[in-house]
Subunit: 548 residues, 2 copies
């Protein structure tokens, strides 16, 4: 029996990870992370629960990476703590992975196998064939997986544009799969809400060229470090206008270096200069390529916008182009940077006012084309929140897949295929593991609840010591607060709270049994009531009551 | 000299408030609030700094409200603590204000004056004429303010559609102002990033009717409580299909009651039923109108989506329509509700997949039309972040206003007009006042920094008591943490931390001068280092060290 088990990505954007299993052969497709939700206070990022893989460690034949984005490779260092299987990826993907693993300490050596489109490899019961797909990062692939149960096609993240480029989606190979007979298509649901087709990168290039050719000052382009094809476009435009190019920022310098080594980026030798040389050239000869397009507060772009960047002081005449999407949750941070750039006199071009970015994920017409090409017996929407999966399921029905053969699965469920066909059954159970510092999964609901309470109204700590024998107060009550009230404005509240405490101490006399516990409880209740009445806030109350 | 002083709204979306002053006459236009930014942990909302008004209290002749949205009236209860001036507004606006003031305690009686479009009133040196504008809440007005320095036109929040409705923007009156000669136009910049025209509410109505006529189950429409015209549209469609209507939710019940009393909403007598009667009628005869379209976790819609609503259990066949915008910052909360509704089998219709909402703010072509109608000598963009004001300033230049007569002012600056023309000068200074519970303005940067630190990694408190005379430890060290580590997983860290503390106590012997201070400092530093090394987190360290 063939089992497909999504461990992440079917219920969220991000966290993509999937197990494909037949008898004793198990392969893993992608190992991605997700950035924390708003309520995950203090959490760095989230990875899928890999318990199922740990339990089936001995079966794992390989990890196949479809492309180099964090939501597909970011959990790899955590996966490699538990298993030691070879990793398969295209040259650019492996370049980024190698760099990533070098940054993580204490990982045992891993085997990295380069794969190429239209190449086939065999892993146990599976024959894998890689299919070029076009996406916002270069060198992405989908996978045709031939299994004893039939042919599974996994699209990876893709879009389809028909304008010529080096890395066009290999529609013919998908069509060949369709002719061969596809048991199940697993297809990217990210943009299923969008009607029509994505616009082509060529159009974006023309718009960028238009903007850059009009500018008479310095040009600063902010984008994702992984947008290698877009970076090449900008280099080409800069070359035409005779500008120097500066690549600035830790992550983008790393990806550009990898891409240059692999021949995916070409910059004429004398064209690239260092950020420290920015003042040696006339303004209209400077193009800076950097990151920070999501409003990251420590990025070069954020520093430029607030006037604290060492080499680049934004001034009238500069043009700043944010060539990327406003990711939901980041809008306010991005808007802040745009506002500051305008205040400093720059012209700012961003997605909302100009077509300078296109998504890397297929829109509805492309999604239907994929179904049309592969003509699958079963359809499984992947990569999306539940709403995306639902809408993609409906789209597949419109495209001719009978509703009974659309399998809308969620993380942790098992999609089974045998001679009786395909079905979903309750599965292995899965979840999201929060990473905070070096802590893996110790941050859970209760800890987040504590952080939430502290974040809203801070705390009030009361220290009080009694003489163990006489029951007389020998220290305190002393009150300390953080994040609760500002002491010069409302600090008298804390002084008044001391009276509340003293009243309790008087009430609960030394001979009362369980005195300390009683005082502690009264203190919690009475101070909560007192602060709610006086200032309508609910700080965490911390009584430190000692007997000495 | 005429002074126009924006106290809020020129630098953000929200917080709208403006002073207009000539000699001893001062009027206030709007008193709005803003919802907190992400970094304002625990803050309920934000109001403008009203210090300038307090200082000029005796001059204040009136508060004029352009419409009933919170970003124009929400700060009123706070303004009324300091001044007692008559309030002018249209009947619906005052209805909402009356309800709001009743909910706030301890406010002295205020005079509410009804105003009507094309009506004129005189306040000191000012003659005010109200001009009907169309917006997402009914009964909005702009204002023509005749001053000794010239005619000022303030648009309020507006859009212009040419499809007939009761409350169309009075383009002719704006044109008359243009003929009379406008010194300065102050115009709404919210949607200046959007090309073209807003689509009309009639089109939205047709789309809604289409969706509702196809549904065979219950229909639940979620929208803003203030969207009275949209609510009437839904009632009309429900009437056509013979459905009962349920209005559910505290805020929407209040606004609908006000609108009914004023004749702005008509529901046939037997058509409106209570939510408790929902099961007494067939599914295809039920239309529920409610709020919660921004993902508010306690709303009726959120409760329906998570299956805990008392009367309405969502099931296959139900249609849920979110007829409002996804406000940036709320996307994830809204998405969560949509996902849950789909999981329960409902069909969900929302802005991203269907044209069921239109903004209440003019797009570029409407903004140019406003400039064209009023032909102002000076142009002042209002209501927007700096980027919106900048783009609106550019649009005005395209519409023929010379750059020197476009005054791009920010909050707290003074826009002056006299015989030499108009100019901006540094002004009264202003800011944002954060409201947290009953605290007005005591939450500032340092308090937010404390809340931020606590929200990210919690705290670790160490209690330790020494005998004052011998210097011997008589209690502790006791370690308590919140929001830092989960004790069953990583709690051993805290036990190990006790050893770190004991080492310090041993190191700093009883005869060391300033022993307590030294121990406290070492404890902060060493524990910080220890936790950073072991788990890479930075909790707030709280040493409670007593001498008894």
């Amino acid at each position: 029996m063939l089992k497909i088990i999504p461990l992440g990505g079917l219920g969220e954007i991000g966290l993509n990870m999937m197990v494909i299993e037949y008898a004793d052969s198990l392969i893993i497709i992608d190992a991605g992370l997700m950035f924390p939700e708003d309520y995950m206070l203090g959490v760095d990022f989230v990875i899928p629960d890999m318990n199922y893989i740990r339990q089936n460690k001995s079966k794992v034949l390989g990890i196949i990476l479809t492309h180099a984005h964090e939501d597909h490779i970011g959990a790899l260092p955590y996966l490699l703590r538990d298993i030691n299987a070879p990793i398969f990826g295209t040259p650019f993907t492996l370049g980024v992975v190698r760099h990533k693993l070098e940054e993580h300490e204490s990982l045992s050596p891993v085997k990295l196998h380069e794969i190429f489109p239209r190449e086939k490899i065999t892993l146990g019961e599976f024959e894998l064939e890689f299919i070029r797909v076009n996406h916002s990062v270069i060198d992405g692939v989908g996978i045709a997986i031939r299994t004893p149960a039939g042919l599974i096609v996994h699209t990876g993240d893709f879009k389809i544009t028909h304008t010529f480029s080096d890395m066009m989606t290999d529609v013919n190979k998908f069509a060949q799969c369709g002719e061969e007979g596809v048991l199940a298509l697993l297809s990217d649901s990210t943009n299923v809400e969008k009607e029509g087709y994505t616009i082509s990168d060529n159009e974006i290039g023309e718009t960028l060229e238009n903007i850059m050719s009009k500018s008479r000052g310095r040009i600063i382009v902010a984008l994702f470090a992984s947008s290698i094809a877009r970076i090449q476009q900008i280099i080409d435009i800069a070359e035409k206008r005779g500008s120097k190019v500066i690549v600035s920022g830790r992550s983008i310098e790393a990806t550009v270096t990898i891409a240059k080594e692999l021949g995916y980026i070409h910059i004429p030798d004398d064209m690239e200069i260092d950020i420290r040389q920015v003042s040696n050239f006339p303004d209209d000869r400077i193009v800076v390529i950097t990151t920070g397009s999501q409003g990251e507060p420590m990025s070069a772009l954020a520093r430029m916008s607030s006037g604290i960047h060492k080499q680049v002081k934004i001034r009238e005449g500069d043009t700043v182009i944010l060539s990327s999407k406003f990711i939901p949750g980041n809008e306010k941070a991005i808007a802040k940077i745009i506002n500051n750039l305008y205040r400093r006199g720059a012209d700012v071009i961003y997605e909302k006012i100009s077509a300078i970015h296109v998504s890397g994920h297929a829109f509805q017409e492309e999604l239907k084309l994929m179904i049309h090409l592969t003509k699958p017996e079963y359809f499984i929407p992947i990569h999306g929140e539940y709403r995306h999966l639902t809408l993609h399921a409906r789209l597949a029905e419109q495209a001719g897949i009978p509703a009974s053969r659309v399998l809308l699965a969620e993380n942790g469920q098992i999609i089974e295929f045998d001679e009786d066909g395909g079905r979903i059954r309750e599965g292995v159970g899965t979840g999201r593991i929060m990473i905070d510092g070096k802590g893996i999964g110790d941050v859970g609901k209760s800890l987040l609840r504590e952080r939430r309470a502290l974040s809203e109204d801070g705390f009030v700590a009361v220290t009080l010591a009694f003489d163990e024998e006489t029951g007389i107060v020998v220290y305190g009550p002393e009150i300390v607060s953080r994040g609760f009230v500002f002491e010069t404005e409302t600090g008298h509240l804390l002084e008044d709270a001391i009276c509340v405490v003293l009243e309790i101490v008087e009430d609960v006399e030394p001979d009362v049994p369980n005195r300390i516990r009683k005082i502690r409880e009264r203190l919690q209740a009475d101070l909560r009531k007192y602060f709610n009445f006086t200032i309508k806030r609910r700080p965490v109350i911390l009584p430190f009551i000692l007997e000495v």
